[in-house]
């Protein structure tokens, strides 16, 4: 799906837990998430922590959309 979106010229970032799979399949912009069942907020942490993590990682995804890249790139997250 990512590739078809990108092929059409729409800039796309994939937020995925399985980064090696995303890479193999051919995503170009990638941002890691924390797990499969809850990619952007661990229910074992407080609502506030979950929100911080989600806000931060979506922010990185937005940064990636503004970044020119020359090869497949995994963008680094801080939390």
């Amino acid at each position: 799906m990512v590739k078809e979106i990108e092929k059409a010229g729409i800039t796309v970032v994939q937020m995925a837990n399985l980064i090696p799979v995303a890479k193999t399949v051919g995503s170009n912009r990638m941002v890691p998430t924390i797990s499969i069942p809850y990619p952007l907020g661990d229910p074992n942490t407080s609502q506030e922590e979950q929100w911080k993590l989600r806000y931060h990682r979506v922010g990185i995804a937005l940064d990636s959309l503004e970044t020119e890249i020359k090869e497949q790139t995994v963008f680094k997250v801080k939390i």
Binding site: P37, Y55, L65
Partner: protein, 349 residues
Amino acid sequence: MKKAILYLNQFFGQVGGEEVADHAPEIREGLVGPAMALDKALGNDVQVTHTIICGDNFMGSRQEEAVDTILGFLNGLEFDIFFAGPAFRAGRYGAACGHICKAVKEKFGVPVVTSMNDENPGVQMFRSEMYIFEGGKSAAAMRKDVGKMAKFGVKLLFGEELLSASEEGYYGRGIRHQKWLNPEVPAVDRVIDMLLKKVRGEEFISELPMPELDLVPIAPAIKDLSKAKIAIATTGGIVPLDNPDRIQSASATRWGKYEVSKLDSLSGGVYKTIHAGFDPAAADANPNVIVPLDALRAYEKEGRIGSIHDYFYTTVGTGTTQAEAARMGIEMVEDMKAAGVDAVILTST
């Protein structure tokens, strides 16, 4: 008695060579050229009743007209299976076989079988949509290639057990089937065997081969995100509670788009995940962990992004073949383009 019809180009249809490649489609009763070999290979219970002949250039440059004419010929004829080729390495012929097989399959719902060499561009164009047998480089392989098509055709027609693509000899279509092994070796034993082979540096064959890496050109960065319209898409199966489009929980072939223009976040109890590949508890309680509408809405309010697209796009990514995923992606992208979406955040689980 089952009935078959064969499609040939002008050369194999014995009309002539390159000088008559503009030959308009025609249908003849009975057997022309390779139709004789096919008829023989199909045995006593299947008969080739007609041969269709069309020039490669006619099909190449006036494809719609050619296909419509041929479908017209077939209308009213009784047939149980449709063959085309073999096309060997002939590119135009391979594409022609693919186009006509696709059209016949769609209109009449009969199985279609063709054959091409792996260098034939028709293979990549059509392999996901039909049975294309691995064929030789040139007409020297005619008998062998026709034989493979016929053998499989008979199996299809009489409901015999079909083996995997590589065992049967056609190019994998990207479709997975459940299959019972004989002897039955549990997955846990197979994986340990595979691991031991890997450790010993021996060759092993993966049961889930990854397609070769096929990169698409990198889309340019968005110059000014504060003016951009962003859409969210997901393979995490987030849907409205009643799953109105009945997207499957695994091996999905359907996708949906749902309006969120008036929402600041996705509420549990209103949205849920139907993804069968993980424990849904966290996502059901807070769907934003998969479709982060709340965070993106915050960025919209800050002016970091221009707007969020009125809809998010969703399907389920477990067991879904790459061929289906690509098709759904193509369908989504049409909708995104029509809506003026500049960029997409796609979350996968």
